[in-house]
Assembly symmetry: C2
Homo-oligomer: 320 residues x 2
C-alpha cells in the first residue's frame, strides 16, 4: 500500500541516525520528514548550550556536515580552539569557529526565553532544511553514564574519555519532568504519521531517552502508524559509536537479535518491523520468534545512494 | 623624590586608558604596575560574559592588541561571526574567533564558581603579563545610558548605536552592592602605592563607575599616595571614544578645564595633580584656581615611545 503523501516520524540520535534521516529526507516529499532528536547528550560547556545530536541533524540535512570527520562542519576552522589551548582552557570538546556560531546563536536565543523547540526550528529554517527537526523535549534531560566506580556526564564519557570506561548503566536526569515535543505528540495522536522509523541509533543513550519521556511511548504504541526499527548492530559491530561496546559490557548479546530482545523486553508491543543487515540473515528465525516482522537488506550506508536506498527499503517495509 | 621600587595603581577604562597603562608597564619595574579596570561595560552576550575593558588591557599589555583597529586582537579571524551572520544572528558586537576563546574561557571559569578577579588574574598570567590587572569589583555593575526618551545598556549605546543618541545621564546598576577589589583596597590602605594614576579614560562611563564603588574613593582620598589625572580631553576633543560628545550633551565645557571641574566637584579633594596637553596650556590658570597642581606636556600617544614618555612624565609629576 502506498500513501500518496506519506508523512514520516523518525527518532534519531546523532551521526548514525542522521545518515538514515538524510536518506528519508531525500526520498520523501519535501517537508514530509519529521525528526524527533535525542537531547539527553546536550550539555552546558564554557557557557554555551550545546545540542550535539540536533546539530548533527542540522548539519547533515543541510549538507554542511563534514562527512570524512563524521562530526562537525565541512570547511571548519579552529582558531578559537587554538587560542583557548593557549589559555590552557578546556579543549577536549572541539568547537570549530563556524560551529561556535550555532552554539552562540542557540544560547543567546535561549537566554532571551525561547524554547529549544523554537530555537531548533529557527535554525533548521535558517539553514534551508525542509524536513522538520524537533528536540525530544524542551526540558533539560541529561544522561549520566554509570561506570565502574564513578558516574560521568555523557559528554565526559563520550568525548573526554573516548568511551573507554566500562559502563554498568545509565540514568537520564530530569526525564520525569520532561514532556514530549508537543508538535510531534499532537501529530502522533491525530494519526498524522504514515509510519514511525527508529533510526540505527544507539539504543541506550539515543533512543531510550526519547522513548522514556513520560507519555511518548504510550502515544506511539496507541498510534495506528507502524513502527520500524533499523538495526544499529551489523555483524556484531555498531554502525557508529559505542553501542556494541555498551551491549557487551551490559551482558547483552552484541547482535541484531540482542537489539530486538532489548527493545521487545523494554517496550512491549512497540516494534512492528525490524530491518537487519543481510550479514545477520541467520538471526531471522529467532527475531521472528519474538513476534517482530523482520526483513533483511544491506543496511550499511556509505554513499548518498546507500542512504536513499535504505530509506526507500525501510519505508516499503511499513507500506509507505 | 624618587622611590627606588615604585609601585603604581592605575585606574583605567578601555582603549584610551590602556595606552597609558602600556607606557606605565614599560617604564616601571616589572610587576610594579597594578591596573584597576572598569567593569561597568561588561555584559552578557550570546551566553558569554564579556569584559571589554579588561580584555583591552589584557590584549594591550600582552602585545596582542590590534593597534590599527583600536580594539580586538592582531591577526584576528571572523569565521564564527560570518557563520552567525548566516544564521541572521546578533553580529553588532563583533566577536573574533580568537577573542571568543577569551570569553569562552572566562565564562566557563565563572560558571565553575571562580570570581572575576581570579579569572582575570589567571588570564593575565596565561598571556604572560607581568603587570597586575584587576576588575574594579567582582559583583556585576552595569552602566545604563539614559538617552532622550529611553535607557540603553552600555554596549547597546556604545557599539550597537555607535554613541549616536544624545545622553542625559548614567546610572550604574548594582553599584551599591559592589565592593572594591580586595587586593587593591588592602594595598591602598596599607600605603603600598607610590602614586595613583587616573588614565585618560572617559570620566562618565570608565572612571566614575570605579570611583563610585562604595569605599574606594574614601580609601584613595585617605591614602598618602598622590593622585594624578591625565586629561582625556585635548584641544576640545576626546583622545578616544565619546567623552567629548557626552560632555557637550551634559552641558559641561568640552575642555581640560571642564574635566578638572567635573572631578573637583564630584570627588572633592581627590585630584592632586592634573596633566593636560600643551595645546590646552592657556587653561592652566583656571585649572590651578581649582586647587589642582596642573602641568603641561604632549599627551597624545601614537607610538610606543609616546606612551612611555607620557608615562614617565606623569610619574615624575607625582615624584615617582
Amino acid at each position: 500500500m502506498t500513501v500518496t503523501e506519506p508523512t514520516v516520524l523518525a527518532l534519531s540520535g546523532g551521526v548514525g541516525g542522521a545518515k538514515l534521516a538524510l536518506g528519508l529526507a531525500d526520498v520523501l516529499p519535501r517537508g514530509h520528514l519529521h525528526v524527533l532528536v535525542n537531547t539527553a547528550d546536550d550539555f552546558s560547556h564554557l557557557g554555551l548550550h550545546i545540542s550535539p545530536d540536533i546539530d548533527t541533524l542540522l548539519y547533515t540535512l543541510s549538507g554542511r556536515a563534514n562527512a570524512a570527520q563524521g562530526w562537525g562542519l565541512e570547511g571548519e576552522t579552529w582558531n578559537a580552539m587554538e587560542a583557548l589551548q593557549g589559555l590552557d582552557g578546556d579543549t577536549w570538546f572541539r568547537l570549530g569557529d563556524k560551529d561556535l556560531a550555532t552554539h552562540l546563536w542557540r544560547t543567546g536565543r535561549l537566554a532571551q526565553g525561547a524554547s529549544l523547540s523554537q530555537v531548533t526550528d529557527s535554525l533548521r529554517t535558517q539553514l534551508g532544511i525542509s524536513s522538520h527537526i524537533y528536540p525530544m523535549c524542551d526540558e533539560p534531560v541529561r544522561t549520566t553514564v554509570h561506570c565502574e566506580g564513578r558516574d560521568l556526564p555523557f559528554q565526559h564519557y563520550f568525548v573526554k574519555e573516548q568511551c573507554a570506561p566500562a559502563i554498568t548503566g545509565f540514568s537520564f536526569e530530569g526525564i520525569l519532568d520532561a514532556r514530549p515535543n508537543d508538535t510531534v505528540l499532537q501529530m502522533v495522536r491525530s494519526g498524522a504519521f504514515s509510519a514511525i522509523v527508529v533510526c540505527p541509533s544507539n539504543p541506550f543513550v539515543s533512543i531510550d531517552p526519547i522513548l522514556q519521556i513520560p507519555g511518548l511511548w504510550a502515544a506511539l504504541s496507541d498510534s495506528p502508524a507502524e513502527l520500524v526499527l533499523v538495526s544499529p548492530i551489523v555483524a556484531g559491530m555498531a554502525l557508529k559509536g559505542p553501542a556494541a561496546k555498551m551491549m557487551a559490557e551490559l551482558g547483552t548479546p552484541v547482535t541484531a537479535l540482542g537489539v530486538a530482545e532489548y527493545y521487545c523486553k523494554r517496550y512491549k508491543g512497540l516494534l512492528d518491523y525490524f530491518v537487519i543487515d543481510e550479514s545477520d540473515a541467520t538471526l531471522v528465525p529467532e527475531i521472528a520468534a519474538l513476534g517482530v516482522k523482520v526483513t533483511v537488506t544491506n543496511t550499511v550506508m556509505k554513499s548518498r545512494e546507500d542512504k536513499q536506498r535504505l530509506a526507500r527499503f525501510t519505508l516499503q517495509v511499513v507500506g509507505v
